[in-house]
């Protein structure tokens, strides 16, 4: 059971595989080469300074020794030294890090600061100190590089241990009276082994390259022994006479570096759950990619408009007819139609995953890569949203307010820059005028100290403030349509009410049409004229805000949603979970998934809303 997924993981992780193969080959060379090639690598012959040829693939050195053989034989010493240094760094570093973690408060702080200070220096500085104390030589190079690697492991261990120590399972163990060292060994270390492993693999390469560099400048391995660094060192004086001598050790060092890098990348993506997910993503992106060019034509043909669309065109400001959104072969939104008249607020409500935000982003033309929208008609007045509408009109005629006010703002830019951008870029408003307008807009929407807000960065404001600023920004160009994608979800209840009031005020004062998305049927009922209930990417019910407020809805799913809101329960009912599947109701010939429902809704259509 364990082997199959492991094999697949390796297969999906080419860098891990190729890195492991390269390093495996090096280990093989380290094992075998000294046994087979010591003779030609170390015997002095009269064939000095031969060029590359049949007998000697890369020629011979000043003492008639085979250059390639020497580079291959040197692999063993090079790898052994690096392994020894890394092992020492690892053991000592992890021990120090763990002890620091267990130490009492003030001592731990002091030690952490000391370790931080040590990490700030290039590792070679510490290595040179050790080399100075012990004098040039192989042993001193190993110790020097080992010591230089200790702070890195110590810091990582201490930092990781600190993050894991707050986890519930460690606290539980502590409450159960498990002693500190045992907690460390049984609960903490195993849970931080991933990042340590990554550091171990990168540390091995660094040690190898650093020890080689010490040998290279004459502080490491001394004649007659030789590692790759020593071979380069010996090649350097005669580099003009025989430049080919540097090739073999250089290649070995580069190959090792690349192998270790690949392995490190591979290990990192294995242990990091985020990249593990990302490693799967490209596999999915594959089929989505080719589907991309097939944009709008596919769905438009079969859904030739039946003339009814022409009627809605005049009445509706926003016309959405037969909207279907696909990501690869998954259908996110299936044949959704509605219109929004001037001054109307249309709500889209449904559980998460019902496709409501996807519809909003399809209307705004902001679907993510690989997600494609088709429709028989998608237009904002005379602006065809399916083609390539002029950017300027899109920017000024559609305002958008997103769900998460904090993520929506660019953390690196001042609010003023972001809020006034559309006006400055698309309307040519001067910076000063745009700022003045924005200050007024912010004041209108009850943002305190609007002057100063414009100079602030988003992290200096609360979520409620940011969301109001975001609404003000969306309104600067006086758009024809305001799309609000779950604008109150990330806010707490008191702020929600205030933000909703602002939407209503804008609608009243400016007559802006709105597409309002929410999973909260209560919020939608309060604000919207018309409400579309979505489930699984289809419209299952069309009703009105008034009906929702009165509770006079007929569709079972809408009633279930209504019953699941705490507000309705306050009246004395019981809070029930929604258990309703569209399949049972709409699993009919797929051509007309929700016709029966929309027909039912069409019996009492609100002013500007019509069924197809």
């Amino acid at each position: 059971m364990a082997t199959e997924p492991t094999a697949r993981r390796w297969h999906r992780n080419p860098s891990l595989l190729s890195g492991a193969v390269i390093l495996g080959l090096l280990v093989l060379v380290a094992l075998v080469a000294p046994l087979l090639l010591s003779g030609s690598a170390e015997t002095l012959t009269d064939d000095t300074r031969l060029g590359a040829g049949a007998g000697h693939l890369l020629g011979t050195d000043a003492f008639g020794r085979d250059v390639l053989a020497r580079a291959l034989v040197a692999t063993r010493l090079t790898l052994l030294m690096a392994a020894a240094a890394t092992a020492v760094s690892f053991v000592v570093g992890v021990a120090i890090g763990a002890l620091v973690h267990l130490a009492p408060g003030w001592l731990r702080e002091t030690c952490l600061r000391l370790i931080d200070s040590a990490v700030a220096f290039p590792s070679l500085v510490l290595a040179l100190v050790i080399a100075a104390v012990l004098g040039p030589g192989m042993g001193s190079a190993i110790v020097a590089i080992a010591v230089a690697g200790v702070p890195g492991f110590a810091r990582l261990t201490a930092n990781l241990a600190a993050t894991v120590a707050d986890k519930d399972y460690v606290l539980t163990a502590r409450l159960l009276g498990v002693p500190g060292l045992r907690i460390l060994g049984r609960h903490v270390l195993p849970n931080i082994s991933g990042p340590l492993l990554v550091l171990l693999s990168s540390s091995f390469t660094l040690s190898l390259l650093d020890i080689s560099s010490l040998s290279f400048v004459g502080l490491g391995v001394q004649s007659p022994q030789y590692d790759w660094g020593r071979l380069l060192n010996e090649a350097l004086p005669s580099i003009f006479a025989q430049p080919s001598l540097v090739i073999a050790p250089s290649i070995m060092l580069i190959v090792t570096g690349v192998g270790a890098m690949l392995l490190g990348d591979g290990v990192a993506s294995l242990v990091d759950p985020r990249t593990r997910g990302a490693a799967l993503a490209p596999a999915k992106a594959g089929p989505a990619g080719p589907a991309a060019p097939a944009q709008d034509d596919t769905a438009r043909a079969p859904q030739a408009s039946d003339g009814a669309a022409a009627g809605t065109e005049q009445d509706g400001l926003l016309t959405v007819d037969g909207l279907t959104v696909r990501a690869g072969d998954r259908t996110l939104v299936d044949d959704v139609s509605f219109t929004i008249g001037a001054g109307q607020i249309v709500g889209l409500v449904g559980e998460s995953g019902s496709g409501k935000s996807t519809i909003a982003m399809a209307v705004a033309g902001l679907l993510p890569e690989g997600v494609r929208a088709n429709a028989s008609r998608l237009a904002l007045g005379d602006l065809d949203l399916l083609g390539t509408p002029p950017e300027r009109r899109l920017a000024t005629e559609i305002g958008i307010v997103y769900q998460d006010p904090i993520g929506t703002f660019n953390p690196a830019l001042r609010l003023g820059t972001q809020l006034t951008e559309v006006a400055r870029v698309h309307l040519g408003t001067s910076r000063r005028q745009a700022a003045k307008d924005m200050v007024r807009a912010l004041a209108d929407i009850h943002v305190t100290e609007p002057d100063r807000r414009l100079r602030q960065h988003p992290h200096e404001l609360s979520g409620g403030m940011l969301q109001r600023a975001s609404i003000a920004s969306a309104m600067t160009t006086n758009p024809r349509l305001l799309i609000a994608d779950e604008p109150t979800t990330a806010l707490d209840v008191t702020v929600q009410a205030e933000v909703l009031r602002q939407f209503r005020r804008i609608n009243r004062e400016h007559g802006t049409a709105m597409l309002f998305i929410s999973h909260d049927i209560g919020v939608v009922g309060v604000l919207c004229d018309t409400v579309l209930v979505l489930h699984g990417g289809r419209v299952v019910d069309r009703t009105t805000g008034a009906d929702l407020r009165r509770g006079t809805v007929t569709h079972p799913y809408t009633r279930a949603l209504l019953a699941a809101t705490p507000a309705a329960v306050e009246a004395g009912g019981t809070l029930s979970a929604v258990r309703w599947t569209a399949d049972a109701h709409a699993a009919q010939p797929s051509g007309a998934p929700s016709d029966d429902l929309s027909d039912k809704a069409a019996d009492r259509p609100p002013a500007a809303e019509r069924s197809r």
Binding site: P122, G135, I254, E449
Partner: protein, 343 residues
């Protein structure tokens, strides 16, 4: 950041919200300076202590280790007197710190000249390698990494992505002294274009700087590419796309500032390691900088010179770190609050 959302935003939330950011803003730089000064002092103390320990840690009798096994008692006594080896360790450390504070770094055993003079003549050579190398690395890395990141976003242009990954990975992982050696073979020996050593002409700087740049430039470019990809996937980039901006404004104005923090943080690490790389690299080019000198000093056991140069190189590393933190604080004020090492 999100602490704000917990603030009750009722009818009159102003008072609560208003105070917090202002205090934080003022406290930002002050807190930063205090924290940073503390850390800097600690690092300097550590550096001084480590260099001081070189002599007491010498195996056996330090005087004999310095003078050699067959030296006369008179020589040993002279060395002891000169280094103050007869005094207790604590007294010696106090003297050592005092000397450093007043700019006295001792006298070279080999040349019998003040170490301060040696450092003063050698340091400009090293600095004139390091600074251009740093700037050129960043000038290559950021545009290259960003361009590739934008072009390969969301798994587009897979071939370009793989090709860049391979080439950049290869160049990033090649050690600086190997790159230097190969550059000499190619440009000095095969093509005869550039000098392979010394520092007499400006052209002599080209190969060392190129060798220093290549690794860091591509190491940083790889990270810039990854960061670009992750920034482009953020919600605020969707907002910016919602503003329907041109490609240049979208990427330069909205994406780039968000890369600066991580790129600078990484650059700090790469640049300090670049200092270490210089020490080795100078030896390839027999370049008259601190690196060549310190290696010779270690081989000839010239301890005052070793101590002096390691002190100076260590200080340079601290300076680079401080500089990166200050620039980060200016570019991205959020880093003032936690310090970049938090991540």
């Amino acid at each position: 950041m999100s602490a704000g959302s917990a603030v009750p935003t009722g009818p009159l939330p102003a008072a609560t919200v208003r105070l917090a950011p202002r205090l934080r803003l003022g406290g930002g730089w002050v807190g930063f300076a205090v924290r940073r000064a503390g850390g800097l002092l600690m690092s300097m103390l550590l550096l001084v202590l480590v260099t001081f320990l070189i002599v007491p840690l010498l195996p056996g009798d330090p005087a004999r280790a310095i003078a050699g096994t067959n030296s006369s008692p008179a020589t040993l006594a002279a060395i002891r007197g000169r280094l103050g080896l007869d005094e207790p360790l604590a007294t010696r450390f106090v003297h050592y710190v005092g000397d450093i504070a007043s700019g006295r770094l001792g006298t070279s055993f080999r040349f019998d000249t003040p170490v301060a003079d040696i450092v003063a003549t050698r340091m400009p050579y090293t600095v004139q390698l390091v600074i251009p190398a740093v700037l050129i690395s960043l000038l290559i890395a950021v545009p290259l990494g960003m361009t590739v990141g934008v072009l390969t976003r969301d798994g587009r242009r897979r071939r370009l992505g793989v090709g860049f990954g391979t080439v950049a990975g290869l160049l990033a992982s090649a050690p600086v002294y190997v790159v230097a050696t190969l550059l000499i073979v190619l440009f000095s020996i095969s093509l005869g274009l550039l000098p392979s050593g010394g520092a007499t002409t400006p052209s002599a700087l080209i190969l060392p700087i190129a060798a220093l740049c290549i690794g860091p430039a591509f190491a940083i470019a790889r990270v810039v590419r990854q960061e670009t990809a992750s920034v482009l996937a953020q919600d605020y980039m969707r907002t910016a796309r919602g503003h329907r901006l041109g490609s240049v404004r979208l990427h330069m104005r909205h994406a780039l500032p968000n890369l600066v923090t991580s790129v600078l943080t990484l650059s700090g690490l790469v640049l300090t390691s670049l200092l270490g790389g210089t020490i080795i690299l100078e030896n390839v080019f027999t370049y008259p900088g601190l690196g060549t000198e310190v290696v010779q000093a270690i081989i000839y056991k010239d301890y005052p010179v070793i101590q002096g140069i390691i002190l100076v190189v260590g200080m340079l590393a601290l300076l680079v770190n401080l500089l990166v933190d200050v620039v980060l604080g200016i570019v991205d004020p959020r880093t003032l609050e936690g310090g970049r090492r938090g991540h």
